[in-house]
């Protein structure tokens, strides 16, 4: 958490927030009118979740399972509202069925942010194992995905990926690597 905590800003002002990974994500969601953000929480995502709750532009709330959030976002999209799902790698691992039976065949531009655990200093073997299922599952459905490691590339990747998902009516997964977020470290 060291890097993430160094960069954790107060909720305002925006000029400071925009220089953090989570500030950039929040502002890019806003600029693309993505305002419905269900999540299953993750330690690394905490500053983003906190700032989404603090901003009245967003409707953000926890769901009990990640696939529930996929259902909510599919319904919202079909009814004209854009959203994105925040989760951890272990949560993504629960989604193969809903991706293959709802998001992909119905052509839903599902925007997924996956906080990557299980690599670069993971201390829980189960997390390391489940992390390795992420990209094979995405690749098996030929889904667009990007692993983001650099803050100077973050806005470009998020902004372009949202626009492409909507234009092509296809899901996208944006994997937030510990090199970007600081990840979760042994002492926590």
């Amino acid at each position: 958490m060291a890097i993430a905590e160094q960069h954790t800003p107060p909720p305002t002002p925006h000029d400071k927030a925009e220089k953090t990974w989570h500030g950039i994500v929040l502002q890019t969601l806003k600029r693309n009118d993505v305002n419905l953000v269900p999540y299953v929480p993750d330690r690394v995502l905490t500053p983003l979740i906190k700032n989404l709750h603090a901003d009245p532009f967003f409707t953000t709330f926890a769901t009990a399972r990640e696939e529930e959030a996929v259902g909510i976002l599919a319904g919202a999209w079909m009814a004209g509202r854009r959203g994105a799902l925040l989760m951890q790698t272990s949560g993504f691992a629960t989604l193969a069925n809903v991706l293959a039976s709802l998001a992909v065949p119905y052509q839903i531009p599902l925007i997924m942010f996956v906080s990557e655990r299980g690599t670069l200093g993971e201390f829980n073997y189960g997390q390391a194992l489940v992390c390795r299922t992420t990209r094979p599952v995405l690749d098996s459905l030929a889904l667009e995905h990007h692993t983001i490691t650099r803050i100077d590339e973050l806005e470009f990747i998020v902004d372009r990926s949202i626009k492409q998902a909507v234009a092509t009516q296809a899901p996208v997964a944006l994997i937030l690597n510990p090199l970007l977020t600081g990840g979760k470290t042994f002492d926590k």
Binding site: E67, A74, G83, S101
Partner: protein
């Protein structure tokens, strides 16, 4: 807890779905859960505001919640089977906490996975769907005693100011029709029906 539904009549899914559809006058959205639930929705007569789920078992209520959050002025009705609901009980609390004013949830409870060979669900002889819903925070949850009671409860829910869950005991009959399994067309026509898009 099975005593809670002892006095409820065993109804038929196609019959009550037809009664429900017959009541709709305001382009209400209707989300049909997997299998027989959406087969009978299809058989009751296609409407542009119907959405048919072909997989993703358990997600009829979450999909309906998404529609309700996106279009708060439109009434949204979700149809789900008891076996499907058991896969996603947490969704009841999500809906209870968000309190959408425009969402009606209907649960068809026959205690079996009819479509896979009528195996009993784990809840069949021990759990009560309405008690689960109330315990999940959906205080406006009731069993429909018979068809007339169901119609009255639907009418009430369509002007309610909180989410409503109506459970019905149904028989073991399969669905009457078979939904055309064309997910892209189902989604596109639903979006037209909700006024989100115009046909090419």
């Amino acid at each position: 807890m099975t005593s809670a539904n002892r006095n409820t009549k065993v109804m038929n899914r196609y019959d009550v779905t037809s009664r429900l559809i017959g009541k709709l006058r305001n382009e209400e959205a209707v989300i049909g859960g997997i299998g027989n639930t959406n087969f009978d929705l299809w058989a009751a007569g296609h409407r542009p505001q119907n959405f048919y789920m072909l997989g993703s078992m358990g997600l009829a209520f979450p999909i309906a919640l998404g529609v309700a959050l996106a279009q708060p002025d439109r009434r949204v009705i979700a149809l789900e089977g008891d076996g499907s609901l058991l896969m996603q009980l947490g969704a009841l609390s999500t809906i209870a906490s968000l309190k959408p004013k425009n969402l009606t949830m209907i649960v068809f409870d026959n205690g079996i996975y009819q479509i896979t060979g009528s195996q009993p669900t784990p809840a069949a002889s021990v759990a009560d769907i309405v008690a689960i819903a109330v315990g999940s925070g959906l205080t406006n949850s009731v069993w429909a005693a018979d068809e007339e009671d169901f119609e009255r409860l639907v009418d009430e829910s369509l002007s309610a100011s909180e989410p409503t869950l109506i459970a019905l005991r149904i028989d073991d009959q399969p669905g009457v029709g078979t939904t055309r399994r064309d997910p892209v067309q189902i989604r596109e026509r639903f979006m037209h029906g909700l006024g989100v898009r115009q046909p090419l």
